[in-house]
């Protein structure tokens, strides 16, 4: 279970989230809607412990507080944020990054197995095989970056999947992959928080939904 209690987030002196409390159980997907600037992305980044966010309140995962944990520690507990805009990492080869992630996850996979897994995930999203050899996101379009995020989430099966507009910039045929990912994560007992403006996805997950308005649950 992921539990937020009176979560407040301030960035550069401006309060973005105000006393947000919510609970999401294992195997559930919570849809988060709201207008631009309402605090949806900030909520996900606060859960992920982005360093420039001053957070107050309590975040619990499985009954244990993770409020004092750094971003990398939360990632190692299985929190995975699919970033709305992921960076270009010159000099960091995609395979090396994935291999590092696999090692952190205590995966006993060999590098060749990581490559195979990555190629399969990329192929499923219509990305070319040679993506594994490229420096991370170098030369990638916005949609391809989104696919890269989805591919990672599929490869590493997170306990808590934070999806920040995973569908924007994706072609229609790839949007079903986002639903597949959510369903696979739920089936594995994971928790999903989904931020999206996409109507199809909103309709699919509208039975468990909150709306943020000016940093508060409406």
């Amino acid at each position: 279970m992921l539990k937020l209690k009176n979560l407040t987030a301030t960035i550069g002196g401006k309060e973005i989230l105000k006393n947000v409390s919510l609970t999401v159980n294992r195997g559930e997907c919570l849809l988060i809607t709201g207008q631009n600037g309402s605090g949806k992305s900030t909520l996900l980044h606060t859960i992920m412990a982005r360093p420039d966010i001053d957070a107050r309140g309590e975040i619990e995962l499985g009954g244990n507080s993770i409020s004092d944990l750094e971003c990398y520690e939360r990632a190692r507990l299985g929190l995975f944020l699919s970033h709305q805009s992921s960076p270009t990492l010159d000099g960091i080869n995609t395979t090396s990054l994935f291999f590092e992630m696999a090692k952190i996850k205590n995966d006993s996979l060999k590098k060749i197995d990581v490559i195979k897994k990555a190629k399969a995930a990329f192929r499923d999203l219509n990305l070319p095989d040679d993506w594994t050899r490229r420096d991370f996101n170098v030369g990638a379009s916005g949609g391809e970056r989104k696919k890269n995020e989805i591919a990672q989430a599929k490869m590493f099966t997170p306990n808590v999947l934070l999806l920040d507009e995973p569908d924007s910039g994706l072609e229609q045929s790839s949007r079903s992959k986002v639903i597949d990912l959510i369903e696979e994560t739920k089936a594995a007992g994971g928790i999903v928080l989904l931020v999206t403006h996409e109507k199809v996805l909103q309709d699919q997950y509208s039975n468990n939904r909150i709306e943020l308005n000016d940093g508060q649950i409406a």
């Binding site: 990492l89 080869n93 090396s96």
Partner: protein, 152 residues
């Protein structure tokens, strides 16, 4: 298909390399990586393309532990060598007060060629570091080093 030539140098004191691109339809691509974890490395790379050839040279330099790398890539184009199209790109990652001096030199005696060059510092922004943290990664230096050594 471009013809790829890869070279990796680990903790060398001196590197001397002659690159002789001869491909015309496609490019000769030289991917040169220098990793220096101690002391000083002097690298002299000599690029001598033949007439009408295409070539790209990527020189990636990683230095740590106060190491010093001095790398020069010299392009020599003779009078008779027209139609050459070449590009020399340096990228440097200096860590732990290391110093990297990387520069192209060009001796060109023919007016009908393209000779591009560039030099960039491989730094990680706060956003990049946050992204890597969000993947559980903290040791950025090792990550970059391993990535440069172990490219698939």
């Amino acid at each position: 298909m471009d013809k790829l030539h890869k070279k990796l140098f680990l903790n060398e004191e001196e590197i001397s390399l002659d690159l002789l691109p001869e491909n015309i339809e496609q490019a000769d691509v030289y991917d040169i990586t220098i990793i220096q974890s101690e002391g000083k490395c002097t690298a002299r790379i000599n690029l001598e393309p033949v007439k009408d050839s295409l070539s790209k040279v990527f020189i990636k330099i990683f230095a740590e532990n106060n190491a010093l790398v001095d790398c020069v890539c010299t392009l020599n184009v003779g009078k008779e060598c027209s139609g050459i199209d070449t590009d020399v790109q340096f990228r440097s990652w200096p860590f732990d007060r290391s110093r990297i001096q990387a520069r192209p030199e060009m001796f060109i005696k023919n007016g009908n060629i393209i000779a591009a060059h560039g030099n960039a510092l491989g730094t990680l922004s706060d956003e990049d570091k946050y992204y890597l943290n969000s993947r559980g990664i903290t040791n950025f230096k090792e990550m970059i080093k391993r990535s440069l050594i172990d490219e698939e």
